[in-house]
Amino acid sequence: MPIVNGCVLPDELFYDVERQVWYRELGDGLVEVGVTAVAAAMAGTIVAVTPKRAGRRLAAGNACAVFESGKFVGPAKVAFPAEIVRSNDAIMSQPGLAHTDPYGAAWLVVLRPDDWHAAKALLTPGPKVAEPYLELMRLANFAGCSAGC
């Protein structure tokens, strides 16, 4: 599992590095979506996370959720067209999960992509994500995640 500047990026996920979003294959044509530990660390203390509701259609580049910290607003944008089939209500009452469990309880939505095969071609598989993430951190002048990130 790559650990880049202290930030964990699990192997089994697919990444949209530019948008700092991860995808997990669930089977049955569904994928789970969240934002990376790096994104959460860059945002500072997240005070609200609001996923969009199940049933919504998303175009490529649309937000599936919005993160808010005291001074920051950030959308979690999807890379491909899809329908939201589940939405994580729990994270709305526990936004800190984005910091403590970014690849588990902090999932945002489950999507049914229109064409997951084509969508996957847009993403970076976990074993190859370290190098592009290092570059992203360098460009953002981001030192890295603190212990436990």
Binding site: A63, F72, G74, P75
Partner: protein
């Protein structure tokens, strides 16, 4: 459900700094949610569209984030900002004095048209 939000900032006085965060933060959030967002600054708030004004103001004393930073965040997420035509003279401004994030000057009829439209929801401050 309407997909467009108009935020009218009219009664938010730049002299009351703590009033300046919410309108711009809400504009940023709505834009991040993929809604079309327009913000019209008029009356006392019209000054916020003038170069050099918002960057001297902070919502919280001592904060390192200026009101202009809030405007830039919302603009960066897609919110469109406008100044009110009738408002410019009040502050001895013309179009060349506007901040780069301000898309231009609109008349009161532009505002009223959107307020009355079924396509928009309106928040006013």
């Amino acid at each position: 459900m309407p997909r467009k939000l108009l935020i009218v900032i009219a009664n938010t006085d730049p002299r009351n700094h703590e009033e300046l965060g919410s309108p711009f933060f809400q504009a940023a959030v709505a834009a991040a949610m993929d809604f079309t967002v327009e913000v019209i600054c008029t009356a006392a708030a019209g000054r916020l569209m003038k170069c050099g004004v918002a960057e001297t103001l902070t919502v919280k004393p001592g904060s390192d984030k200026s009101v202009y930073d809030f405007i830039k965040d919302a603009h960066g997420l897609g919110a469109q900002f406008y100044a009110c035509a009738g408002n410019l003279e009040l502050f001895d401004m013309d179009a060349k004095d506007l901040i780069p994030e301000c898309a231009g000057v609109v008349g009161t009829a532009y505002l009223i048209d959107r307020v009355m439209s079924d396509e928009y929801r309106v928040l006013s401050y």
